[in-house]
């Protein structure tokens, strides 16, 4: 689907825009394959059969898989839970990473560098090794089997702090000094100078954060017991995964589409803003 523009191979050693464009299309095409297959499978009336593996639809589309998936789990409730989790985490994170980022970027205090490196060390830890200690803490705080318990460990983000520190350091100090002369407090300086200028970084971080927590499975599975509090990923897994059995691919594809659709739609709507934020925040 993408090879049509691969006509002009120029041998100057440099990549021409055309060639670069073609290569991008090719890679994009490769990345699209699983998604396309999911689309094809979700509307396939045959859940099992030779046609199942085909990327080219050869059937009359049906909504039966969606009906089955929809009936299998309480999607609106799971969706609401996921929304509460992801947006709740993000709201707190924005406050904590802004303040921490400002502290590391602009405040002078003894042991600042050491403190910052200790913070970054957190990035090296695989979250899985922290499951038991985290869960013990959550239970002691009385947050076991609650949405707040799912959210709490993520309220401070090392990655976000790092990102905001870099963004704040790139902002000329003179702007802050000018505000200081006018008598602005720390919070006024952060709110009126730093935050507006670091907006692209904040947006970029928000995308990473929301996507990560939207897709998370193991930690919510550990914390949540009540069926009413399940997020989408756990709800989806409860009817699509098998240990010794076999899978109905059509229903799985339809369910996966239902779960990922909100993110996909959000991305499609705000695509330009997202891309711009990544470009200007330096994450490419």
């Amino acid at each position: 689907m993408s090879a049509t523009t691969m006509s002009t191979g120029v041998s100057t050693g440099e990549i021409t825009p055309k060639l670069g464009y073609a290569a991008t299309l090719l890679v994009a095409g490769l990345w699209m394959v699983p998604f396309l297959w999911m689309l094809v499978a979700a509307f396939n009336p045959e859940s099992i059969g030779a046609g199942m593996a085909s990327l080219v639809p050869s059937y009359i589309p049906t909504l039966a898989n969606f009906r089955e998936a929809w009936a299998s789990a309480d999607f609106p409730r799971y969706g609401l839970n996921t929304l509460v989790i992801t947006l709740g985490i993000l709201a707190v994170q924005i406050v904590t990473i802004t303040l921490a980022g400002y502290a590391f970027a602009r405040l002078e205090f003894p042991g600042r560098t050491l403190c910052f490196y200790l913070f970054l060390l957190q990035l090296m830890l695989a979250p899985v090794v922290l499951i038991v200690p985290n869960l013990t803490t959550i239970a002691k705080l009385g947050l076991y089997d609650s949405l707040l318990g799912v959210m709490a460990p993520y309220f401070a983000s090392a990655f976000g702090t790092f990102l905001m520190r870099q963004a704040f350091r790139a902002i000329p100090r003179e702007l802050e000094d000018a505000a200081l002369i006018d008598g602005a407090s720390v919070f006024q300086r952060i709110g009126f100078i730093y935050l507006p200028l670091a907006k692209p970084s904040l947006v970029a971080f928000s995308i990473v954060s929301v996507t990560a927590h939207w897709n998370e499975f193991l930690w919510p599975l550990m914390v949540i017991n009540s069926p009413d509090l399940r997020p989408l990923t756990v709800g989806l897994a409860s009817f699509t995964r098998g240990a010794e059995g076999a899978q109905a691919w059509g229903v799985i594809a339809a369910g996966t589409l239902l779960v990922s659709a909100p993110l996909l739609i959000a991305f499609a709507l705000f695509q330009r803003a997202f891309v711009n934020s990544f470009v200007s925040s330096g994450i490419k």
């Binding site: 599975l221 550990m222 017991n225 069926p227 240990a243 010794e244 059995g245 076999a246 109905a248």
Partner: protein
């Protein structure tokens, strides 16, 4: 500050007096049941329906079914919840994790509960098939109640047999016949294989179990049934079993290379891209509802003898579950493993009912008359042995499953793989072995 503290104290006292008052004593005992989804989504709904019925029939108990992922994730979640001081009242646990949980003191013996019901352990376990006792009774104490169990089965597409000019009434009974049949069933288009004669799942958890089935069929044993610190990975019977699997791929070219997931194997079988497969009885209902062709099931083909491991899950009560919650969990466990319920669950899933009396019920007799394939698994129980269970079962299993994957992708020879697996497993079990078998009197 003091006023708030006083308020809290007053509130606590008020709450305590409420808790002691008769009105509150009638509040149902709340318990959770952790369950993995063993087959597919329909079962999560079946489980919800089953627990709903239980709650309606037992108004003094309110049980909540909690979905906990795969068997391995269920173990992680149960352990994490216990360490956090929130043990669930009951768990449907992979049957071979019981030994490790017992060694770590994480599940409780049910002897007291059985005695309170006026039964001996033997009388209580007598209602379940003998083959299941090994994964439930440890040191003569009952640690688990069998809920749904399985054995591997050979599934054969009989249309493909006919097409290849073979007798659909004569299914491969030994390894020799399996290879010749698989060769005839495999279809090639030049170098490309369009239909595989044979497929076996080799993903984590499944691969070890299938390899155990081959080892048993080859006259071997996977582990020391009486002692949790020994596995027999580097032995001739295991070498024969692993070589057989690797030969199906490299020598006979009737089995695809690399790791095959359980779902992929059953999908290949249902779509006609594989003619035979070894898969759990737990998939029987799924295959029966989705197969658009005649199929048959048979015992796992033997090399030396007919013998297979048990699979599936048992109900356990974690340590720390006491008083009313413990009693309520026991009521739930007994209800779920009764002849009616275990029979119903068996018909819904394809797993066999561990309770022997389930097969005397009229619904089950009618079901078996209509679906003779479900009876094959039951008759195979006569030659079934316990599922491998050691100290730290999951890592010890992974030690050989990683090597199995290397062999199936042609990166290692079976002998190299088994030597490495044995070394890995011995290292994992060493602390236990030193604390038990190697802990000798010094003076």
């Amino acid at each position: 500050m003091t006023t708030t503290r006083r308020n809290i104290l007053a509130g606590a006292a008020l709450a305590a007096s409420f808790a002691l008052s008769p009105a509150f004593a009638q509040a149902p005992t709340e318990i959770e049941l952790f369950f993995p989804v063993p087959v597919d989504g329909q079962l999560a709904r079946d489980m919800a329906a089953m627990i709903k019925e239980f709650n309606e029939k037992n108004p003094s108990i309110k049980a909540t079914p909690v979905y906990t992922g795969s068997y391995d994730e269920t173990l992680i979640k149960t352990r994490a919840a216990m360490k956090a001081g929130k043990p669930p009242a009951a768990v449907i646990m992979s049957a071979n994790f019981l030994l490790d949980l017992k060694i770590e003191g994480e599940i409780q013996a049910m002897d007291g509960l059985i005695k309170a019901d006026g039964k001996t352990n033997d009388q209580f376990m007598g209602q379940f098939f003998d083959a299941l006792h090994g994964n439930a009774v440890l040191d003569r104490q009952v640690y688990g109640v069998p809920f749904h169990n399985s054995t591997p089965l050979l599934y054969v597409n009989t249309d493909h047999l006919k097409e290849a000019g073979l007798d659909p009434d004569k299914l491969p009974a030994n390894w020799e016949e399996l290879v010749t049949t698989a060769k005839k069933l495999t279809k090639r288009d030049g170098d490309r294989v369009t239909r595989w004669g044979m497929m076996m799942p080799s993903n984590y958890d499944y691969g070890g179990w299938i390899l155990q089935a081959l080892t048993h069929s080859n006259g071997g044993q996977w582990f020391n049934v009486d002692y949790g610190g020994e596995v027999y990975y580097d032995t001739p019977s295991m070498l024969g079993a692993l070589t057989f699997w690797s030969d199906l791929i490299a020598k006979h070219k009737v089995h695809p290379a690399g790791v095959q997931a359980g779902g992929a194997v059953s999908s290949a079988f249902l779509s006609g891209q594989a003619s035979m497969m070894l898969l759990s009885t737990g998939s029987l209902t799924h295959i029966r509802t989705n197969a658009k062709f005649p199929y048959k099931v048979a015992f796992v083909p033997k090399n030396v003898k007919n013998e297979v491991p048990i699979g599936g899950a048992s109900l356990v009560i974690p340590t720390g579950v006491e008083g009313e919650r413990r009693k309520a969990a026991w009521t739930l466990i007994n209800w779920m493993t009764s002849p009616e319920k275990s029979g119903w669950w068996s018909r819904a899933t394809g797993y066999f009912a561990p309770n022997k009396a389930a097969y005397d019920m009229p619904e089950m007799k009618a079901f078996l008359a209509k679906n003779p394939d479900a009876g094959i698994a039951v008759s195979q129980l006569a030659v079934a042995k316990p599922w491998f269970a050691t100290y730290k079962t999951v890592p010890v299993r992974k030690a050989i499953e990683d090597e199995l994957a290397a062999v199936l992708s042609g990166k290692k020879t079976p002998k190299e793989a088994l030597v490495a697996a044995q070394k890995g497993a011995d290292e994992i079990m060493r602390p236990y072995v030193e604390q038990t078998a190697l802990k000798l009197p010094t003076n």
